[in-house]
Symmetry: C2
Subunit: 254 residues, 2 copies
């Protein structure tokens, strides 16, 4: 089966490698940045191009670009032969309707960085399609890449994406804050890794709400005030500490 | 070597089991709640009591109670034979000075729940002592329990504890928020587990700041507005979303 990919960023890179490993023939990588297109194309034995008007017919064309760039590409794809899918959590299926006949969504619910390996077989793939036949085709492709494939509506996908922002993007930001605090104290961030791993281990077996710990849920004002005192030169972090502590107290006071 | 423990909560329970496994003789478990003292004592072949005036002499007495209860116990321990240590991240070493001759700190930098197993050998143990001899004794005990033992000052311990609140307590709260959002949409929280695991995997190899992803750092206002629209019936979560997105933008705009 022949596929092509528009995009050469984090998602495009991991998706291309996963497709290649699963035996798909990647015909072309298209990217407005020629250098990036070339780099990724060379890793998966594909051709590369910068003008999507020159894309050849394939069974499935994956669009893996920033959300707000998707709609802008579609007018150029209205004669495209094959299924056109995007890989976005937040963009509805409807985006394709005015432009493309056969379309779908192929959303990997994962955070990707080019330099960090991902076991793609564990990545939840959220599939949606413009018709039953398209859903079936995409599910069959997805099942070759991952053991965790689900048909998910646009609204549910949006909810998942929103929840992912809280649990992944915002969480990573808290890791950055913790790392900042330790760096200023000359302490190594990796001392926190076992704690962070255990925090995740717990929620595999329990509802996160049921395993909340810390001074806020205990109402330990002495510790809270001590922490705010430590942060006296970082009013922005003081504010965050107070904000999140209040939110914890609110969630747990029935 | 004989030890006893005041406390029967999460820290006391995991510490008692780790000490027992490492071959220490746990003489007594003291807790104001007789039932809890009894339960833990039976798990580690110890005696139990509710009145700490009746504690027998041991080499080390571990105090594993809420931070704000530590100081209140010390007047009763001023004739205690042996080293008295607390296990708190936020309480300074000085708390002992007016009351106890030989004292120290034995702080496990980990989150504990009675029902969740912990590999204690990976728990960072932060040691502090009132004298060189006490530090040596505590380091030697700690090294029998964990492969990750460090001598840490009271101020550094407080910084670590503060960073742990951000990276563990606040992070778990974000998991709770994500879980709430999915629950209301009838979606299973475990779809987010691979994403959460990968978020942690990344920061083992990179600075959290360097692997930040998501709509806030990309400045993707279309997605941000879509998410705020989804949260229109949860003004508290809208506020949190805006607050944390601003904080991400601030940290990354230099």
């Amino acid at each position: 089966m022949d596929v092509s990919i528009i995009g050469s960023g984090n998602v495009a890179t991991h998706l291309a490698k996963a497709l290649k490993s699963a035996g798909f023939n990647i015909l072309q990588i298209a990217s407005s940045t020629e250098e990036n297109a070339k780099t990724l194309a060379s890793q998966v034995d594909a051709g590369f191009l910068t003008n999507i008007d020159n894309l050849k017919a394939v069974d499935v064309l994956f669009i893996a670009v920033k959300d707000d760039a998707i709609a802008g590409l579609l007018p150029q794809l209205n004669n495209f032969k094959g299924i056109v899918v995007h890989t976005s959590g937040a963009t509805p299926l409807d985006v394709f309707k005015p432009y493309v006949k056969r379309y779908g969504v192929f959303y990997p619910l994962q955070t990707f960085s080019k330099q960090v390996e991902v076991d793609f077989r564990k990545v939840p793939l959220c599939i949606e399609g413009g018709s039953k036949e398209i859903v079936d085709s995409l599910m069959s492709i997805a099942n070759k890449l991952s053991n965790n494939v689900k048909e998910i509506s646009s609204l549910d996908r949006k909810q998942l994406h929103l929840a992912a922002v809280f649990t992944c993007n915002f969480t990573n930001h808290l890791f950055s804050v913790g790392s900042d605090i330790l760096e200023k104290g000359g302490l190594p961030f990796d001392m926190l890794i076992p704690l962070i791993e255990q925090t995740v281990e717990k929620i595999k077996h329990s509802k996160p709400k049921d395993v909340q710990t810390g001074p806020a849920i205990r109402g330990d004002e002495t510790i809270i005030n001590g922490h705010l005192e430590l942060l006296k030169e970082r009013p922005d972090l003081q504010e965050m500490y107070v904000f999140l502590s209040k939110s914890i107290k609110k969630m747990h006071s029935v």
